[in-house]
C-alpha cells in the first residue's frame, strides 16, 4: 500500500473538523490541492564572526553543560510589522518559520515545497528537509536560501511555500512529537538546528580525548574556546 495524497475537498474537510489545525489561516486563497504557507516574523542567522566551524562533538558537550549556550552563536531578527522586510542577499542562508502553527494527526504527514513564483526568483524554502512527519505539531522551519542574482526582500505574512498533505495507510506507531528523538516539536518560533544533539555525538564525545580539556577551558574562560577552535582544528587535521 502507498500513502495517499489528500484532495482539496479532503483538506478542507479535515480543516473544518479540526482533524488538521493550521492557524491562523488568513485567506481562502491559501487552500487548494496544497496549503499555502505564510512567512512568520522571526529570522535566525548565524553570527559568522563568532563561529569558525561547526564541531558537533564540541557543541554536544557544550550544550549538555548549558542548554542555553548555543544561542550566542545565532542572531534572531524579529519583524512584527508586515511592511518591513528581511532582505535575503544572493547566496545568503537564513532560517525562518511559518506564520501558521500546524498540528497534524498521526496518520497525516506533509511535504514542504516552495511556490513556483518565488522559486523563479531563486528562493529556496528548504534544503533537502521538506518532509513533515505525521503527528507534527508546531511551526515549520524554513531553510531559506537565495540562489538568485538579486537580493530578495521577505515580508512577514507573504506566501512563500506550500504543503502537500498525504495520508498513511494506517496510523503511525510513533507520531513525531512522541518520539524520544523529536527535537523540533511544539515550537512556536524559529529555532536553529541541533544536529549535535543526536546520540552519535554523545558517544563520539565520550570517546574523544580532546573533550575534557576543551570543556574545562570553556568553563574557566567562557568565549575563549571559539577563538581557540581554528588552531585546534588545524592541528588535528594535520
Amino acid at each position: 500500500m502507498k500513502p495517499r495524497i489528500l484532495t482539496d475537498s479532503e483538506v478542507v474537510y479535515a480543516l473544518l473538523t479540526n482533524a488538521i489545525v493550521v492557524t491562523p489561516l488568513l485567506s481562502k486563497s491559501q487552500v487548494g490541492a496544497t496549503l499555502d504557507l505564510r512567512l512568520g516574523t522571526e529570522f535566525v542567522v548565524k553570527k559568522m564572526d563568532r563561529l569558525t566551524h561547526i564541531d558537533p562533538i564540541w557543541f554536544n558537550q557544550l550544550e549538555r553543560s548549558d542548554p542555553e549556550v548555543m544561542v550566542r552563536f545565532y542572531e534572531t531578527v524579529k519583524l512584527v510589522d508586515p511592511t518591513t522586510a528581511f532582505v535575503l542577499h544572493p547566496g545568503q542562508f537564513a532560517l525562518g518559520c511559518t506564520l501558521e502553527y500546524i498540528d497534524l494527526p498521526p496518520q497525516i504527514g506533509g511535504m514542504l515545497e516552495g511556490r513556483s513564483s518565488w522559486a523563479r526568483e531563486g528562493l529556496n524554502v528548504h534544503s533537502t528537509a521538506g518532509l513533515i512527519h505525521p503527528g507534527h505539531k508546531g511551526v515549520i522551519v524554513f531553510e531559506l536560501l537565495n540562489a538568485g542574482s538579486h537580493p530578495i526582500p521577505l515580508y512577514p505574512g507573504i506566501r512563500v511555500a506550500q504543503l502537500l498533505l498525504y495520508e498513511l495507510d494506517s496510523v503511525t506507531r510513533q507520531p513525531y512529537g512522541l518520539r524520544d528523538d523529536s527535537k523540533y516539536s511544539r515550537y512556536v518560533a524559529t529555532n536553529f538546528g541541533r544536529p549535535w544533539a543526536d546520540w552519535e555525538f554523545e558517544c563520539l564525545g565520550q570517546k574523544s580525548r580532546r573533550r575534557p580539556a576543551e570543556l574545562k577551558r570553556e568553563e574557566q574562560h567562557p568565549g575563549e574556546s571559539e577563538r581557540a577552535q581554528p588552531e585546534q582544528g588545524r592541528s588535528e587535521t594535520s
Partner: protein, 489 residues
C-alpha cells in the same frame, strides 16, 4: 485561622519579584542605550545598590523567618520590619528619580496588545481617539492615564492633546499585569462613547446631595473603566487589579481619593460583574484571587504597626463617612451603569462556557499541540457533515475556513490559571491561598536568583504561554493588515 507566615512570605515574594524585574529592566535599558549616551547614569548605580541591599535584607530575613514557628515570627516581626522598611524607603526614594523616563523606549508589544484587545472586543472608535497617533505609551513609575499637549505638526495648528497611558517600567514585560493598562484605555472609551456622561445623569447620582454627588461624578470615570476592563478581559483584569492594588508599593489605591473609590468597593463590583460570567471560571480563578486579596487585607488588620507604616491606613480613610457615597450606593451605581444602552453598545459579550473551555485547555500545565488551538467552532458554524458534501459546495466550505488565532482574553486568563494552579506536591499546604507565591519566595530567597533551577523551571513554564501570546499577537497583526484587501477581493 490566619496563616500569617504564608501571607507574609507572599508579600515579600511579590516585592522581590518586582525588584528583580526592575533590575532586569535597568540592565536591558543600559544595554539598549544609543552610543554616546551615558549607559548607566549614577542614579541607576545608586538604585541598583539599594536594590541589592534590599534584596539581601529580605533574603536574609525571610530565610531566618521561614525557619521559625508562626509564634516566633509574630514576636520578632517588629525588628524585621524596621530594617526592611529602612531599606525599602531608600529604594523608594531612589526609584522616584527614575520613575519618569523622559525619552521612553518604544514598546511595540504593549501597543499591539492593547490594539488587539480593543479589536477583539469589537469596539470601533467614532472620533478616532484610538487611532495610532492619538495616544502613546509612556514607561513610567505607575499606572496612570493623562493628557499632554504636544507641539503642533505640519498638519495641525496649535498644541495637540495627546492621551498618554503610563505603565510602570518594571512591569513592561509582565503580560499578567498589562490588563491594568486596558483599564486606562477604557477611560478614553468611557468618555467618547458617552457612558460616563450617561452614568452621571442617572437618578442615583442626581438624587444625592452636593458633596456626595460631586464625588460620585468624579468616581464615575474610574467605575466605568473598571467595568469595561472587566468585560473586555474577564478574570484576567481582576487578577491584575488585585496584584496591583494589594502589592504595589505606594498603596495609594487602597483608600478612597478624589478620583477613585477604595479598593474594597471596586473589588465588590468587579466580582459581581464577573459572577455573571461562566461558573467554571469563577471556581478556578475568581475565588482564588478573592481569597488572596482578602488574605492581604487580613494581614493589614493583623498588624497595626505594619499597616500604618507600610500601607495607607484604610480604617482611618474610611472613617469620614459624611462626604462619601456608601458601598451599597456604589454597588447599585455599578449595576445601573452596565444596564445603560450606551454601555451595552460598547461592552463585548461576557465570556461564555465555551471561552472557559478554551481557557482551561490553554491553562493546563502540561500542554500538547492544542496550545494554539484553532478558534473554529464546528458545533456552531460548520454545516458540512462529510467530504462528499464539500465537493459539491467547495466555495461555500472555503468561506467557513476563516480562522483567527487565540483571543488575548483566552491566553491571559489561561496564563493566570496556570500561575494560580502551580503546585508542587512536596511543599504546598492544603488550602493555602498563596501556595504559588510562597513557593516563589522559596525560590527567590532560599537560593541565589540567577542560579535557581527551580526559578528557571517556573520561568520556562510561563514562557511557553508568553510565546503563544506573542505568536498570537503577530498572527493577528498580519491578519488585520491583509483583511481589508482579502475581503474586498
Amino acid at each position: 485561622m490566619l496563616d500569617f507566615r504564608s501571607l507574609f512570605c507572599n508579600w515579600f515574594g511579590h516585592l522581590v519579584e518586582r525588584c528583580t524585574r526592575l533590575d532586569q529592566y535597568l540592565v536591558e535599558r543600559a544595554a539598549a542605550a544609543p552610543d554616546g549616551r551615558n549607559k548607566v547614569p549614577p542614579i541607576v548605580i545608586d538604585l541598583l545598590g539599594s536594590l541589592a541591599l534590599l534584596t539581601e535584607e529580605i533574603h536574609r530575613k525571610a530565610t531566618y523567618l521561614i525557619s521559625l514557628s508562626a509564634r516566633e515570627v509574630h514576636d520578632k516581626r517588629s525588628t524585621f520590619y524596621a530594617e526592611a522598611r529602612a531599606a525599602a524607603e531608600e529604594f523608594r526614594r531612589l526609584h522616584g528619580y527614575v520613575s519618569h523616563i523622559p525619552a521612553p523606549w518604544p514598546s511595540p508589544e504593549l501597543e499591539v496588545f492593547l490594539r488587539r484587545v480593543i479589536e477583539e472586543s469589537g469596539y470601533r472608535s467614532a472620533s478616532g481617539s484610538l487611532e495610532r497617533r492619538a495616544w502613546t505609551i509612556l514607561l513610567s513609575g505607575d499606572y496612570n492615564f493623562s493628557h499632554i499637549l504636544v507641539p503642533p505638526s505640519a498638519a495641525s495648528r496649535g498644541m495637540v492633546p495627546q492621551n498618554v497611558l503610563h505603565v510602570p517600567a518594571a512591569e513592561k514585560d509582565n503580560p499578567l499585569i498589562w490588563p491594568n493598562l486596558v483599564h486606562e484605555l477604557a477611560h478614553i472609551i468611557g468618555v467618547e462613547s458617552g457612558i460616563v456622561s450617561a452614568a452621571q445623569e442617572l437618578p442615583l447620582v442626581e438624587g444625592k446631595s452636593g458633596a456626595v454627588r460631586k464625588v460620585l461624578e468624579e468616581w464615575t470615570h474610574e467605575i466605568v473603566a473598571d467595568l469595561l476592563a472587566t468585560d473586555f478581559l474577564g478574570p484576567a483584569y481582576f487578577g491584575a487589579f488585585v496584584s496591583f492594588v494589594a502589592y504595589w508599593i505606594p498603596y495609594s489605591l487602597r483608600r478612597r481619593s478624589r478620583w477613585h473609590p477604595e479598593a474594597d468597593c471596586r473589588v465588590d463590583y468587579i466580582l459581581r460583574r464577573l459572577r455573571e460570567g461562566p461558573k467554571s471560571l469563577e471556581s478556578a480563578l475568581v475565588s482564588q484571587l478573592k481569597t488572596e486579596y482578602e488574605g492581604r487585607l487580613q494581614l493589614d488588620y493583623e498588624d497595626e504597626r505594619f499597616r500604618t507604616e507600610f500601607f495607607e491606613d484604610i480604617a482611618a480613610a474610611s472613617s469620614g463617612k459624611s462626604d462619601y457615597p456608601s458601598n451599597a450606593d456604589l454597588q447599585e451605581f455599578a449595576s445601573s451603569i452596565v444596564e445603560l444602552p450606551s454601555y451595552r453598545k460598547v461592552a463585548p459579550m461576557l465570556l461564555t462556557e465555551g471561552d472557559a473551555a478554551i481557557i482551561e485547555a490553554l491553562g493546563r500545565r502540561v500542554t500538547s499541540g492544542e496550545i494554539i488551538a484553532s478558534r473554529r467552532e464546528p458545533s456552531a458554524r460548520i454545516t458540512f457533515g462529510s467530504e462528499e458534501e464539500i465537493r459539491g459546495k467547495f466555495e461555500e466550505a472555503l468561506d467557513q475556513l476563516r480562522d483567527k488565532p487565540n483571543k488575548i482574553v483566552h491566553i491571559l486568563n489561561a496564563a493566570l490559571l496556570r500561575k494560580l494552579s502551580y503546585e508542587d506536591s512536596s511543599k504546598v499546604r492544603a488550602g493555602a491561598p498563596v501556595a504559588y507565591t510562597t513557593q516563589l519566595l522559596d525560590d527567590f530567597c532560599r537560593t541565589p536568583v540567577a542560579g535557581s533551577k527551580r526559578l528557571a523551571a517556573l520561568r520556562r513554564d510561563v514562557n511557553g504561554l508568553d510565546l503563544v501570546i506573542s505568536k498570537s499577537i503577530e498572527g493577528a497583526q498580519i491578519l488585520s493588515f491583509y483583511q481589508d484587501f482579502d475581503e474586498a477581493s
